[in-house]
């Protein structure tokens, strides 16, 4: 409050002072002489007001004079108020002012609204004003101040005391400005402000060292009540800061350092840095305040994101990170995207801030996830995917250890030698010690001087980051678990359906990506969680499931990835996940679930695994064949590729291809195929026959039919042992890409002969491809041609139909004729007889 008062005070106080006793110091005179620009301005103002005033003073009494003073003061105050109301509500900061206005009348609402839009601003603003006054002074006094600086440091410190003389000049200026502004229309002022912003910005960019104080002016512009101007101001400040912020972190000099004597350049630099830093701080405070106002939110978030992206090394980055993380799962699409992109770029460009911000951001995200109970937008976790951990650090550490061990050995050896040769005199020993000491010192110095980030430090940072990341992931998994587990008890399926797991998908992705970094100790728990998640939908899928099929499939995939990445030595058979996959294949629905996930699961679990039990492999073969019968071409192609792969690897399973149910001696304990068995080992699939392949050879899609016939012939041509390189995923992608164009193909094929298609599938497909290309080139023409073609076909068909009708009628007629003839003959015969 005190500060604010001071702000308001200056305009009305000085005139009294100025009239009564103007003590023009030598310095001031000198200054005026030096800076004629200022002087001219000031003198003009003075004459303007003073002549008026003096002429009146001349023929007025003392009382009248005072009355005049009062009048003038009142007028000035009113003016000022007007000015404040119209131009800069932000400047008229006083809560004191705000209060009486509130109590007055209907205008009440206008003020509080304009105030409410910047509620917390006042505090920051107060400081700003303090700085502003400083700045005003500094601006006027710059040359003078420099002169003083040469003389003594202390005077430079006491800038505040120079306030009064400045205000003398300041005051008339503001008065005139106010008068001028009254005349200017709002539009013009907008234009001028825009221009001013541009000028200031350009000036700053042109020579930031000398114009650094303009920052404060720009900051002041951001207090405008016109929000367009505020936005412009914020954005132009952003541009300026982005450009002038140095590539290092500014550390303000301590008091001790301030007292030390330094060169002029250093002083200048210090001044520059401190001004920049304070302006930056004020700017950030302004941003933080405005961030809560919905009107400015977009612009402010953009500013913050850009700043964090551009200068993540600079001071106050923590608050920037905090704001960005807070907005990371914002409901606003634009803001969320901005924030996520910023975080991603933070993660990918770690060189800019040597990884410190990464750790901070991830810890913040972890806290955020915790606070929001895992109910966030998936994008916010997706950003973690762009993290990268330097594995070389771990590797480089290992040799170090080796070296240490070697060194130890070496030392031991030395000691042994020494002990064996105690003769070498002490001088040599002491010299050696000295040498080693020197070496250590040099190494330490070198380390301190070199800009190489300490490897140990980086390792520590990385491990912290990693633990935070896994904390997030495990928390999400656990949360998902907990939301699933109580469900069977409560049996309130409807309420639980709404509670989705938005984060589970990206969480699983992340686990898959960083699976090789998981500590072995956690793997057991992780596998348990994954298993429970994968099983979770199975029991209660009738009452709407929490975890979708694709998510459960993902769980299986992740489990395999984790195992594969960590356990090269031990080959673990994930029986339970195979059981899950076996059942999930049945639950898969093409439209609802994601086919790529299924294809990936098939590849991961069935194709990449080295060995399978015969029973299990047979069960999967049988199920995949059944599966491929009833799904779309892409899915069935993926299934068929897997099936072929399994058959090629498990030669014994080829009994399935024989036309002999029962499976003979290999069929195992289960003598009959049980399609509903939950466990692949108990299904007795070896006792069945792959009759599905026969149907699949008649598939409408040529690729699938050829594939199916190829698989069916596997047992006949066992010499053909090459393993197809095609993966299920690839097959799925190929066909699903083809899917769009395939509808056209079918149309074309309809016209062609069925047998021809079966035998010359490849040829027709190539023809189709050409057609397709033509279609892509000129669709309209093809459409026309096709329609013509179909018209023709239609005509032909119509023709045929008509002909057949004609035939029938003529036949009927002829029959009738015959009948008549016969009747006549009979009659004739009767008559004859």
């Amino acid at each position: 409050m005190g500060k604010q008062k001071r702000v308001i005070l200056p305009p009305d106080l000085p005139p009294e002072v100025s009239e009564e006793a103007i003590e023009v110091s030598d310095e001031d005179l000198q200054f005026v002489n030096e800076n004629l620009d200022y002087a001219g301005f000031v003198s003009r103002l003075d004459t303007h007001s003073i002549t008026k005033h003096v002429t009146r003073v001349a023929d007025l009494k003392e009382d009248a004079l005072e009355a005049l003073y009062e009048k003038r003061l009142k007028k000035k105050k009113a003016l000022q108020k007007d000015e404040e109301e119209e131009e800069q509500p932000g400047i008229q900061v006083g809560r004191l002012d705000a209060l009486p206005v509130k109590t007055l009348d209907g205008q009440l609402y206008y003020r509080p609204l304009s105030k409410a839009s910047k509620p917390t601003e006042d505090g920051g603003e107060g400081e700003e004003h303090a700085q502003e006054t400083d700045k005003g002074l500094v601006k006027l006094n710059k040359a003078e101040r420099r002169a003083k600086l040469k003389k003594s440091k202390k005077e430079a410190k006491k800038q505040a005391k120079e306030l009064p003389p400045d205000e003398v000049k300041d005051n008339p200026q503001t008065a005139v400005l106010a008068e001028l502004k009254e005349d200017i229309t709002a539009e013009e002022s907008f234009e001028t402000k825009k221009c001013k912003l541009a000028e200031l910005g350009i000036a700053l960019l042109a020579d930031p060292e000398s114009n650094i104080k303009l920052l404060k002016e720009m900051l002041q512009m951001c207090n405008d009540h016109n929000h367009a101007i505020v936005k412009l101001g914020l954005l132009s400040l952003l541009a300026v800061f982005k450009d002038i912020i140095p590539g290092y972190r500014i550390r303000l000099p301590t008091e001790k350092e301030l007292e030390m004597k330094v060169s002029k350049d250093v002083k200048k630099m210090r001044y520059y840095e401190s001004t920049l830093l304070s302006a930056y701080k004020a700017y950030l405070q302004k941003l933080m305040v405005l961030e809560k106002v919905s009107l400015y939110q977009h612009a402010v978030v953009r500013c913050i994101c850009t700043l964090l992206d551009a200068v993540p090394h600079f001071n106050y980055r923590e608050s920037l990170v905090e704001v960005v993380v807070r907005n990371i799962s914002s409901s606003d699409e634009v803001i969320r995207k901005l924030c996520c992109d910023t975080i991603k770029s933070l993660f990918t460009n770690e060189g800019k801030h040597s990884g410190e911000v990464t750790g901070a951001a991830i810890r913040l995200i972890a806290n955020y996830v915790k606070a929001h109970n895992c109910q966030m937008h998936p994008d916010s976790i997706q950003v973690l995917m762009s993290l990268s951990f330097d594995e070389d650090l771990h590797r480089s550490e290992a040799p170090d250890k080796d070296k240490k061990v070697k060194k130890k050995h070496y030392k031991k050896g030395n000691r042994l030698e020494e002990s064996s040769h105690p003769q070498p005199n002490d001088r040599k020993k002491s010299r050696q010690e000295m040498m080693s000491k020197m070496r250590e010192e040099v190494a330490a110095d070198y380390k301190a001087a070199s800009f190489d980030p300490d490897i140990m430090e980086r390792r520590r940072m990385q491990s912290e980051t990693l633990s935070a990341v896994f904390e997030i992931y495990f928390r999400i998994l656990k949360h998902t678990m907990h939301s699933i587990v109580p469900r069977p008890n409560g049996d309130t399926g409807t309420t639980h359906v709404t509670e989705a797991h938005p984060l589970l998908g990206p969480c699983l992705d992340g686990l898959g990506k960083f699976s090789h970094l998981i500590d072995l100790d956690y793997i057991g728990d992780l596998m348990n969680y994954l298993k429970k998640l994968a099983c979770s939908g199975g029991k209660s899928d009738s009452s709407g499931k929490c975890v979708t099929v694709s998510e459960r499939l993902r769980c299986c995939i992740i489990a395999f990835k984790v195992m594969r990445n960590n356990l090269d030595a031990l080959n673990v058979d994930l029986q339970d996940f195979f059981v899950q996959l076996y059942n999930l294949i049945l639950e898969y629905r093409p439209g609802r679930d994601r086919g790529e996930v299924l294809a990936e699961a098939l590849k991961m679990m069935l194709c990449n695994d080295r060995q399978h039990d015969m029973q299990k492999a047979a069960a999967f073969i049988k199920r995949l064949a059944t599966f491929s019968l009833c799904f779309e071409s892409a899915e069935s192609m993926a299934a068929l590729v897997t099936l072929k792969h399994l058959l090629q690897k498990n030669i014994k399973c080829r009994v399935l291809l024989e036309n002999d149910p029962g499976g003979g001696s290999v069929s195992g304990s289960v003598a009959k195929y049980q399609p509903y068995a939950l466990d692949p080992n108990q299904s007795g699939a070896l006792a069945s026959v792959l009759w599905e392949l026969n149907l699949l050879t008649k598939h409408y899609h040529p690729t699938i039919s050829t594939m199916a016939s190829g698989v069916a012939n596997l047992s006949i041509a066992p010499t053909q042992t090459y393993l197809s390189r095609l993966s299920p995923q690839q097959a799925f992608l190929d066909l699903s890409l083809e899917r769009e164009s395939f509808s056209l193909k079918i149309n074309v094929m309809k016209s062609s002969n069925k047998r021809k298609r079966a035998s010359e599938g490849a040829a027709t497909s190539s023809v189709d491809r050409i057609l397709e290309e033509a279609g892509s080139l000129d669709e309209g023409e093809v459409k026309k041609k096709l329609s013509e073609h179909y018209m023709l076909l239609h005509d032909i068909k119509e023709n045929e139909r008509l002909r057949s009708e004609l035939d029938r009628t003529t036949r009927a007629l002829s029959l009738y004729d015959e009948y008549k003839k016969q009747k006549k003959q009979k009659r004739g015969g009767k008559n004859v007889s």
């Binding site: 030595a569 994930l574 029986q575 060995q611 304990s669 003598a671 108990q682």
Partner: protein
């Protein structure tokens, strides 16, 4: 030949449960297709001269015609009760166990022979192992080509196996198919 009493039944089932887990249901409830009866019967357990047999019902009915002293064996021998009253699984049960095993271990071809001579399974001989084994679980031992070789009791959990040195014990030997040769007379 008689049915098992309550105590004996729990003993047998506990042992089998160790190996088969929830698949014990399949062992007990599984339909048998033995005999000429058109309707598939079930399997049941019968005790004969301290040995427990896993027999289809149709066979039991026919076996009642044979005198107790003359009846040497029927169905599949699963195990025997020792003089002390405890129940041991014997190697003949391998077929049933292998088909319903919950935990499996696959041996590398090099260590198959050692196991078949009655030695324990070491980490070094492990070709593959089912996930989620706990110490004390029953484990069925397979060769890499899925031929059941025997069974035993796990000594370590799957997790611990990772850190184990190659000479550490993983599965304690209980029975192996080598016994058909080595202990022909006793079986």
């Amino acid at each position: 030949m008689r049915t098992l009493d309550e105590k004996e039944t729990t003993q047998v089932f506990e042992k089998l449960f160790k190996f088969a887990g929830n698949n014990l249901k399949n062992i007990v409830d599984g339909a048998s297709h033995e005999g000429p009866d058109p309707a598939p019967g079930r399997y049941c357990f019968r005790l004969c001269k301290n040995r427990v047999f896993y027999v289809s019902e149709s066979l039991v009915r026919r076996a009642t015609n044979v005198g107790r002293h003359n009846l040497a064996s029927l169905g599949t021998c699963v195990g025997k009760f020792t003089k002390g009253g405890s129940f041991h699984l014997t190697i003949q049960a391998l077929g049933i166990l292998a088909a319903n095993a919950r935990h499996k271990v696959w041996l590398k071809p090099t260590s198959e022979m050692s196991f078949l001579y009655g030695n324990h399974v070491l980490k070094g001989g492990l070709g593959r192992i089912t996930e989620n084994i706990n110490p004390g679980d029953g484990v069925v031992v397979f060769s890499m080509s899925d031929v059941p070789l025997g069974f035993g009791i796990s000594q370590r959990s799957t997790q611990d196996c990772r850190k184990l040195d190659p000479n550490g014990l993983v599965v304690l030997h209980q029975a192996d198919i080598g016994e058909y040769l080595r202990m022909e007379d006793e079986l």
